[in-house]
Symmetry: C2
């Protein structure tokens, strides 16, 4: 029997949302239109200076990005999340920073472009959490192919409409999602059109 779930909620295109999870609960993130990258973070609610760390996750998994069945680690080498389900082709990124005001300035965009860095802060502010820094995110569905074991590129996502990832909380934490506002590079598909995504909270398995 499937575990209880909340109704689906929306992360609007270019926006962010944060959700508190008790240990054992999970978040299901749905790539509704298939082409949207979701910058994803997690922080311990007991101590927001403990956060999901791509540097430690790479080290503990000996992989550039996690796959279904993998644990994801905090900056204190604690297991924070488990990637319990991934219906997509399993291409995600941990190598590139989230977009921010400086990235868009570098591209020549006028000030005020929506960005994942600000979305992170705004989404957590709604939960009353003020983290000391913006960690490097898990960039769900972001397609940064590696070649020659060294070279990187930017390609559109290979995920499909309805693909979903389930992240199970292994400690009490807040999960933050930003539907990446990038519209300069094809990070969010060849059309460079940021889209909304859906999410819901899944109860602890019975």
């Amino acid at each position: 029997m499937p575990s209880a779930a909340s109704a689906f909620l929306t992360v609007p295109a270019r926006g962010g949302r944060a959700v508190r999870l008790d240990a054992g609960e999970a978040i299901e993130i749905v790539n509704t239109h298939g082409s949207q990258v979701v910058d994803t973070w997690a922080l311990s609610t007991a101590d927001p200076s403990e956060y999901l760390s791509m540097e430690q996750t790479r080290r503990m998994l000996f992989k550039l990005w996690p796959q279904q069945g993998d644990a994801l680690y905090s900056n204190r080498r604690s297991k924070m999340l488990a990637m319990e389900l991934d219906t997509s082709p399993g291409i995600h990124d941990t190598l590139f920073a989230c977009c921010d005001r400086w990235v868009y300035a570098n591209y020549g965009c006028p000030p005020g472009h929506a960005n994942c860095h600000d979305n992170f802060h705004v989404a957590l502010e709604a939960l009353g959490i003020a983290p000391p820094l913006v960690p490097n995110p898990l960039n769900l569905w972001m397609n940064i192919p590696v070649s020659d074991n060294r070279r990187l590129a930017i390609e559109p996502p290979v995920s499909r409409p309805g693909d979903r990832v389930v992240l199970r909380a292994l400690m009490d934490c807040a999960v933050v999602m930003s539907a990446c506002p990038m519209d300069v590079t094809p990070i969010n598909g060849a059309g460079c059109r940021p889209m909304d995504v859906q999410y819901r909270v899944l109860a602890r398995a019975a």
Copy 2:
């Protein structure tokens, strides 16, 4: 004619040092014994919340780690350092976090093990700089081979005694070095013996 240089100074095994550089000056870091990894950071002295960013450097270079001739970027996409010279085989790492108290706790070491995270803070404190976070370092000579464009491993350095890297400051900054105290894995050579390294400051080219 070679530019003027300070006398060589030592980063003791397991210890850290920080140096202020004016734009145009450079630091030469010598892997005296050949097997030592040096966790290396840089921060703007005008605003220590601007720091050398491995996430932005990978993005701007489209490489997993920099090579001789490459610029290294800050978290605001500004060029902060240039890797002007690298006499080693050019194997460095940007993927793994620096070691810290939690890493050694994870290995079962008793509390108090020297670590790069604390070395970073202590070295900058000596310069009167209190940064808001410990960024992910450029791990000079750290050998994290990538295979299948995805899988990671830990191998001893392939650098040789006397190999050196010159990092030229492209803005006023503080450079921090930690002679990594790791003695559990072969990060610092198969013998797992942290060693000292030498460095000196090179004047602005005439």
